[in-house]
Symmetry: C2
Subunit: 519 residues, 2 copies
């Protein structure tokens, strides 16, 4: 390839680099081979191989959450895209920006219905905010620039770019520049006034934070408003990235369990939403409401998730004279390291004691971790990342991307065993890239959340048929073997003392280390 | 639950049983919990838990290929369906029948945009032949009966039934009966005459078999026609289930590599397709044709894959006076067990020597197995199953379903290491169900097929950047650890002698056993 005869693939890769997309999580196939060759030539983009597409899309989500810059993916045709969809779902709900690049057969080959033919655009559509099929190698650079712009639209979007093979091997003129992202819109003065009026009323009120309002300047301002007005500060049950720990503004989280959430929200007459949506149940139940706010409450939407949340909170803080009021912060509690038998509270206490400063904690612990949030309030300052779409298998991939975005921070993935199994291939990428990730597998050997749901249905004890559908025993998974099979060092803990010792070993390491904690 | 107050979920499960759907490959979630409770009550359906949805859909494909009866799946909402799509793609291309059951939020909950909300119908549409969203618990039994009928439409279809949670917990009147499948259409006498005329011409001719024409009575008849008319007998490159081995009709396979396929088909002036499609390249290449048949050839479609292929071949055999002509069959070659260093031919010779009679061989060996087909011609009689959609990760799940459909036969999964990684969670289901499956992992620690494609692009040696994207080393996967982590016994072989010894051990076992063969 002469440098003056760029093909479509190279024009796309150079457009990515020009648009500040510097990482590509790739799972390529034959139809993407010209793209691989272009990645080989353009050194300014880091290529990270994953062994399953759901790892690539989840890693791109994690990368964006920590860097606020999109990564690219590289997926193989419709079925490769399909394998990446569950974590694209999670990324879309997290409002992460991803340039999701998918190969397709050559334009003239599609009609022949070869084995791998499928309607790639239809497959990508439900999980994309923006989608385009390139039709010509001369246009792919511009299409890629448009995809970058779409991915960077605040707070972020899934931009799916489909590249038929002939658009990658045909001639291109050069790369294209993408426009920088526009600033998020500011809320109106009227919206601020309505929210201020709500908070000034002599009734119980709550500010519910979502999106970027749970970190940085926005969180600080929310804390000042709460301290001044006496409103409560809460966040949605799931948060893409919340800043927590000692010295940071204290805020509560809406519980997962419907009855608990309703109880927590029952007394508020004024509810002000800042980047948050109306709180609703995760699932509907036949005998429960699915909206969690009292019918008597007045709901005010100060700002949507794609508005400028810090600016909205600054205006509100100014309006209620809160600027400069010291917020209520979380304090470092001296926590004695518990020991002995494994208990859920004991696990949380160990984590809260030992979590390194500035760690990135990724929470896919489900039932095991129900109390982690409150226990971690006084831990060292850290970020706490949830699955925003609720599709399991997000945690290990997210850890890959977060670690690549933040190489100087410890990533701690807290995983239920059932959830971790969906995308365990992420372990290999952690080993290859020597990522500084500690993985804790909570091995209760069950889909515990479903056992609870089944038990709630009926007084009758289920037979072995239903029990077998909700347990991961017979045989037990052996996570130490699974980790070593992927090239990741691992250890097992069966009590809290061993758990603390294993965590210490993991936190002393700078590469991936997996702990199987038997519950 | 009183027996006289059936809910929607139970009405669906009883409809499945009445429609002869006796296995459910399940990966349930909260929205499917009433379905789980119904499975617990109805003992006539076997529930098989998988730890990833692609295992469930691939297993249903394998079950249908061996039994010709659909199984059901049970998947959790849009993202669960998404995880199952790649193997639904493969199953759809294989024309397997599956009753693909997907949970959805309660009808009134969808509009609230809870985390797991998605457009389930749009997600399922590209990979379904039939799709329906139930809207009422009183109708779900009828919807399920319609899904069964769609799945059983010959040769088979993907029928996706979406069940909002309230249709499973609401009241139902009872189960519904599905109509038995209609017989596949017979081809016209005119089509038979045209094909007979083609074969009678004094020019080289070939009968290309596809679908059900590569087994049973249809294959026998094709052999008689070839013996009588002198036409060649070939099959498509990929076959859902071909019957092969000593004593069976001999037929060649169209090669994967474009140049080889063109060469193999070049001289034929008359091409008669029986259940096969026009042979096309798997992928398009800039400098290669993508239709593999010579432009000078006359193409006759005797029968499509959904026609009655045995009847079409019987009519053709009768028309060309071939009925009763002894076909050319494959002979058992006494093969000396090779020994020493691992070579691709040596692997094939070991497999051909030791393959048990009546084994079900599932071929996802890609580059390692390019010569297996010809080497296996004289092995003990066996079935040979390919991925019909070309999406990798089909083999281990298919083995689960094939073993459940055929408990008295040995299943042998021949897997590239890269491909096997996509759905390795299938190993656990094999262990739980104690399935009689031998897994051979060809550990070349590379996406070898892509290395070949990249090498063909350019004379220049790729840098470590591209090499890293196409290799699975650094670190090496350890398949013995991976197997044991899933509860499957395993051994490693580094030469042909060890490979033969490990195969002997596996074939003597009645449960799952994995062999990692280092290449």
């Amino acid at each position: 390839m002469q440098s003056n005869s760029m093909n479509g693939a190279e024009s796309v890769v150079r457009t990515l680099v020009a648009g500040d997309v510097r990482v590509c999580f790739a799972n390529p196939g034959t139809s993407e081979i010209h793209f691989v060759a272009a990645l080989d030539r353009v050194k300014e983009i880091r290529c990270v191989l994953t062994l399953f597409e759901g790892v690539a899309t989840g890693a791109a989500d994690g990368y964006f959450r920590m860097s606020e810059v999109p990564a690219a993916t590289l997926l193989h045709l419709g079925p490769g895209l399909a394998n990446g969809l569950a974590n694209l779902h999670n990324a879309k709900k997290a409002r992460s920006g991803i340039v999701n690049i998918v190969g397709q057969h050559a334009t003239y080959h599609i009609k022949l219905d070869a084995p791998l033919s499928s309607d790639v655009e239809a497959i990508g559509h439900p999980f994309s905010d923006w989608i385009r099929v390139s039709d010509n190698s001369a246009n792919v650079a511009n299409d890629c620039a448009a995809a970058i712009e779409a991915a960077r639209r605040p707070p972020g979007q899934i931009a799916t770019l489909i590249l038929p093979a002939d658009t990658t091997w045909g001639a291109a003129a050069g790369y294209a520049m993408s426009n920088p992202p526009s600033a998020p819109p500011k809320v109106s003065g009227e919206a601020v006034n309505i929210a201020a009026t709500a908070l000034r009323k002599d009734s119980r009120s709550v500010l519910i934070l979502g999106g970027g309002a749970v970190r940085g300047r926005a969180l600080e301002l929310a804390g000042q408003i709460a301290a001044k007005t006496g409103c409560e500060l809460m966040c949605e049950h799931l948060n893409a990235r919340a800043e927590r720990g000692a010295g940071r503004v204290h805020f509560a989280r809406i519980p997962y369990v419907v009855d608990q959430a309703i109880e927590a929200l029952r007394d508020f007459k004024e509810v002000v939403l800042v980047g948050a949506k109306l709180p609703v149940a995760f699932f509907a139940y036949p005998d429960r409401p699915n909206v969690l706010i009292s019918e008597n409450a007045t709901i005010t939407q100060l700002a949507n998730i794609d508005d400028d949340l810090a600016s909205a909170l600054e205006s509100l803080a100014s309006e209620v004279n809160a600027l400069g009021t010291p917020p209520r912060v979380a304090y470092r509690n001296p926590i004695a390291l518990p020991s002995g038998k494994v208990t859920l509270d004991g696990i949380g206490a160990v984590l809260a004691s030992l979590m390194p400063t500035n760690a990135i904690a990724i929470d896919e612990s489900l039932t095991t971790g129900r109390s982690f949030w409150s226990q971690m309030a006084g831990a060292n300052p850290h970020d706490w990342l949830n699955s925003m779409g609720g599709s399991v298998g997000f945690g290990l991939p997210l850890a890959v991307g977060a670690a690549i975005a933040s190489p100087d921070r410890k990533v701690v993935a807290l995983e239920g065993d059932g959830s971790a199994m969906y995308t365990l291939q992420a372990l290999w990428t952690m080993a290859r890239e020597q990522l500084d990730v500690t993985i804790v597998i909570f091995a209760n050997r069950a889909y515990r959340i479903l056992q609870g749901e089944l038990a709630a249905l009926s007084a009758a004890t289920p037979s072995s048929r239903a029990i077998d559908l909700l347990t991961l025993n017979r045989p037990n998974l052996d996570w130490v073997h699974l980790a070593r099979g992927h090239g990741v060092e691992a250890g097992r803990a069966i009590n809290l003392d061993e758990f603390a010792r294993e965590l210490g070993r993991a936190f002393d390491s700078t590469g991936p280390y997996l702990i199987e904690l038997i519950i």
